[in-house]
């Protein structure tokens, strides 16, 4: 474990670390663009220059291995001037695109320029003009003028996704990133290049121009897209969720996440969400307060159990809820109602063990392992056949369903709704609306649920690792999580002080909204 001195501070790092890793470990700031901890060293931006005692020329920190007793400095006048000129060289051909560039607010060049004093440029020559708004593929747009040729995206394609779709064409200051004719940038990890691009050269078609980043806050969470459980951070504001980016976790997902998981913010936003409780049948719904809906469903549930016994009710669960919710709901159903009819609705059993080699798994539920574990802990293991026979034989009179929040990955939704709607009563708990429920003959209660970003809890990955997350933001204040539903179904009351208020989903200027005719 060699020790070195950085700007006078003592730092100890593992053997084989480079100086820039020592900087990162000790929290001292150093400017860099082409180095990324998840990629190989390129050493092309020449900004991470440091002064090493005993070596007359400045060295780059990303390619110099730490030796015991090194004395490194990057605050001296000479180093600061070199780094400032390095920034200058990056800016002389950079277009004046800040107003239209998505990276504004999280751009390395902007931050560094502000740090070095907002000086006037000395470049009075024509800037190099290159192609702009180039469609690289279904997800990414390229702007060659903004590109600083750090080669992070090229190295990502070569080393991480191993699809080699990007290369640098031409030479000198005419160099441009590009794809080869007939092979666009189309793989499941393409949007990671947008994350690692330090400037606005690569932009996401999904997020392009929709919002400015300084209006957004970030919340840490776990991606609900599949059982890998990539650590993510979700960008949101009062209007809803805007995008998802990966967080570093060396054990689970490294520095990356797949493109499919990035769509997991869409089913959380207000559009398509169930906003309140609904009771009815055959398409005619009555909107009721969610607490009333849950209470009346609970009443029906307990009545059915009293009249026909615990085997007349069934609970169908999907692997999309947190461990805490499963524990509470199963606690109520199994211990309280004494029913053993708990069934696991698996949406794609034939694809469960698929794995694309990097991050994306075939099991598209974040907490299948948690659900299986909770069912074992509660001592239930319902077979789907007994549910079928129970419904066919009219033995099961009421079915309680914790439906999927990510409806896109449940291709059998319509079929299952029809199947489960054979019962006399159906309590469908879900976060999104679904027109399929309009066809159900049974007396149906729809109870809105909170999505993964609106609750605190934990998911268990396919490996059995439990990852907890805190509440991010609330989109639908009316919705409940399964623990609260369990309380209401049992006939108890909720602690209203603990329920967070919602954000409404719309940036409302209240005086304008209330202003009509004055």
């Amino acid at each position: 474990m060699p020790k070195l001195k950085i700007n006078g501070k003592d730092v100890e790092v593992p053997q084989g670390s480079t100086i820039i890793q020592a900087f990162k470990a000790s929290g001292v700031e150093i400017c860099h663009y082409c180095w990324h901890p998840g990629l190989s060293v390129a050493g092309v931006c020449r900004l991470c220059m440091v002064q090493i005692e005993g070596i007359p020329k400045l060295q780059i920190a990303c390619n110099t291995e730490v030796k015991e007793g090194m004395v490194v400095n990057n605050t001296a006048q000479g180093v600061q001037e070199t780094v400032k000129w390095g920034l200058d060289f990056h800016l002389i051909n950079h277009p004046l695109d800040c107003p239209i560039c998505d990276q504004a607010g999280e751009c390395g060049l902007q931050d560094q320029y502000m740090q070095f004093g907002q000086y006037d440029p000395q470049m009075a020559e024509h800037k190099v003009k290159k192609h702009k708004v180039i469609d690289l593929g279904p997800t990414v747009v390229l702007d060659s003028e903004r590109c600083i040729l750090c080669s992070r995206c090229v190295r990502f394609m070569d080393e991480v996704s191993k699809t080699h779709e990007l290369g640098i064409f031409n030479r000198g200051d005419r160099s441009e990133i590009g794809t080869v004719e007939g092979k666009p940038l189309a793989n499941n990890y393409s949007l990671n290049t947008v994350d690692i691009c330090p400037v606005g050269a690569l932009t996401s078609k999904d997020f392009r121009f929709r919002q400015r980043v300084w209006y957004l806050k970030e919340a840490d969470s776990i991606c609900p897209g599949c059982s890998t459980g990539c650590n993510v951070k979700v960008s949101y504001n009062e209007e809803g969720l805007w995008r998802i980016k990966p967080r570093e976790n060396k054990e689970v997902n490294g520095y990356w996440m797949c493109d499919v998981g990035r769509d997991s913010y869409k089913f959380v936003n207000l559009k398509g969400r169930l906003l309140g409780g609904r009771v009815g049948r055959r398409g005619s719904w009555q909107d009721v307060d969610v607490v009333d809906a849950a209470r009346s469903a609970g009443l029906k549930l307990r009545e059915t159990v009293e009249k026909f016994g615990p085997d007349s009710v069934a609970l169908v669960l999907t692997g999309q809820f947190t461990n805490e919710e499963y524990k509470d709901l199963l606690g109520f159903f199994v211990s309280n109602l004494k029913s053993k009819n708990v069934f696991h609705w698996l949406n794609n059993p034939d694809k469960v063990n698929e794995f694309d080699g990097l991050l994306f798994r075939g099991d598209r539920n974040p907490n299948t392992k948690g659900l299986v574990g909770a069912m074992i802990a509660a001592g239930v293991s319902g077979k789907w056949e007994s549910l079928q026979s129970g419904l066919a034989g009219k033995k099961i009179k009421l079915v309680l369903v914790a439906g999927p929040e990510n409806q896109a990955v449940f291709p059998d939704l319509e079929e299952k709704v029809k199947f489960l709607g054979q019962a006399e009563s159906l309590v469908w708990m879900t976060s999104g609306t679904s027109t399929v429920l309009d066809q159900v003959m049974a007396e149906t209660w729809q109870i809105p649920l909170k999505t993964y970003i609106e609750k605190a809890g934990s998911f268990t990955t396919y490996q059995g690792k439990v990852q907890s997350f805190k509440l991010g933001t609330t989109i639908v204040a009316q919705a409940l999580n399964l623990s609260e539903v369990a309380e209401l179904l049992a006939g108890r009351d909720l602690n209203w002080n603990l329920r967070p208020g919602g954000v409404g989903g719309v940036k409302v200027n209240y005086s304008t909204a209330q202003r009509g005719a004055l």
């Binding site: 060293v41 390129a42 050493g43 092309v44 931006c45 020449r46 900004l47 220059m49 020329k57 400045l58 390619n63 070199t82 000129w85 390095g86 060289f89 990056h90 002389i92 051909n93 000395q122 470049m123 009075a124 020559e125 024509h126 190099v128 600083i148 040729l149 080669s151 640098i168 031409n170 030479r171 000198g172 200051d173 005419r174 160099s175």
Partner: protein
């Protein structure tokens, strides 16, 4: 005082190009002697001779060979025949007139470093050199000087010619290695150095054409004999390519340490009639320029020129007389470096473009006097910050021209400004 024809002794004989003619004049006589020596002894002789790389860097060749790690990995020998440095045309002479001299020198060097495969990387524009070399290689293979069990010594060696495609940066050793590997010809980060991890990440030695050919003569006469020519720190002879405003331009071979004025006025017939010496670039366009006064005092060896702030480089002497404009010359030079930058690292990629554009403005009459200081400042900031030395190669002439000929630049700016109406385009 004439030339010292050590390497170029038989270049005036056309038959020297072919195997029979080469053998008639003592060719392939040193190879059996070398194959009978211990490879380490060959390296010792080269070290003792003090041979320095003739391609431009001037690094002691024996020392470079001793950097090879003893880890059992296969080793490669690469001959740098890219000859991209503007003003240099000496390697072409050897490849066209005496390909077997190079081949023999390479086989001896490969034996010394225990390399089984070598390449001659020839720049793409040298069609005739490539053709001559390929024919010579065929002849050498047929005669048993290449291939398996050369001359019954048990040493196997294969040699090939590889063509460049018009990039100056592929003359940089790691740029050349990248090009040979089939990648874009972009230099690699050093460390690791090519001697440790080079071609295909294996230990590689990259040497210039002239260096490898000189090895034969060092082994023939012994290292100490090589030291009889030249100076103590710069031993041996060197091929210089003299061009520009002289009566007899061309390649000459002289001992290192010869005064520059002797080369220009004795060997090359002096300046063209009616012209006066203004400046001399002693080592290819990357070398800082010498004023006429400095040129008259200079001796052509590594130390003297380094002391004067310039460098021996590849040995391309460009003679400039008073009819040439230093401003135009610098503009052409910087345009070349801008065009040839590989584009990997930012200071070179952007900096060469910037100073080239400023020079265009100066020539066209759109510049101010402060732009001269700007060129100097940018060039100073480009030096020492990059992966390879192209950035330094562009910065050094820029700094030397605007420092030593500042008055000419200022006059040009004033004259052009009054001619064009003094408009500065944005």
């Amino acid at each position: 005082m004439g030339q010292t024809r050590l390497l170029t002794e038989h270049y005036d004989k056309p038959e020297f190009q072919k195997l029979d003619g080469y053998k008639k004049h003592g060719g392939y006589a040193v190879l059996p002697k070398a194959l009978g020596m211990d490879p380490k002894a060959i390296t010792e002789q080269v070290k003792a001779s003090g041979l320095r790389g003739r391609g431009g860097a001037g690094f002691p060749t024996g020392t470079k060979w001793s950097f090879l790690p003893a880890n059992g990995e296969p080793r490669y020998l690469l001959c740098n025949a890219d000859e991209g440095e503007p003003g240099t045309f000496k390697d072409r002479l050897m490849m066209e007139r005496a390909p077997h001299q190079l081949i023999e020198g390479m086989i001896i060097s490969a034996f010394a470093i225990a390399s089984k495969k070598s390449y001659i990387y020839v720049r793409g524009e040298y069609d005739y050199s490539k053709a001559v070399l390929r024919t010579a290689l065929d002849e050498a293979y047929q005669a048993g000087y290449l291939g398996k069990n050369i001359l019954g010594s048990g040493f196997d060696h294969d040699m090939d010619v590889y063509s460049g495609a018009g990039a100056y940066i592929c003359g940089e050793e790691t740029g050349m290695i990248s090009s040979l590997e089939g990648l874009k010809g972009q230099p690699k980060l050093k460390p690791p150095f090519p001697a440790v991890k080079g071609y295909l990440r294996k230990p590689t030695i990259v040497n210039n054409v002239e260096t490898l050919a000189a090895v034969k003569y060092i082994i023939r006469d012994g290292g100490a004999a090589y030291r009889k020519y030249g100076t103590e720190k710069s031993p041996g002879t060197k091929l210089f390519s003299v061009s520009g405003s002289v009566v007899k331009p061309g390649n000459i071979e002289v001992p290192l340490g010869m005064p520059l004025k002797d080369i220009i006025f004795d060997l090359c017939g002096g300046l063209k009639p009616g012209r006066k010496l203004k400046a001399v670039i002693p080592g290819g366009s990357s070398a800082p320029v010498l004023t006429a006064d400095e040129a008259m005092k200079a001796a052509m060896d590594y130390e003297c020129l380094a002391q004067m702030g310039s460098m021996l480089g590849s040995g391309a002497i460009i003679v400039i007389d008073d009819s040439h404009s230093m401003v135009d010359l610098l503009q052409v030079t910087l345009h070349f470096y801008h065009h040839e930058s590989c584009g990997q690292c930012t200071p070179c990629r952007e900096g060469t473009g910037w100073i080239s554009k400023i020079l265009h403005d100066i020539v066209a009459g759109h510049a101010e006097t402060k732009d001269i200081d700007l060129v100097k400042k940018i060039s100073e900031q480009m030096m020492g910050k990059t992966i390879c030395a192209l950035s330094d190669a562009a910065a050094m002439p820029a700094i030397s021209f605007v420092t030593k000929f500042r008055s000419e630049f200022e006059q040009h700016i004033q004259a052009a400004k009054s001619a064009s109406g003094g408009l500065h385009h944005a």
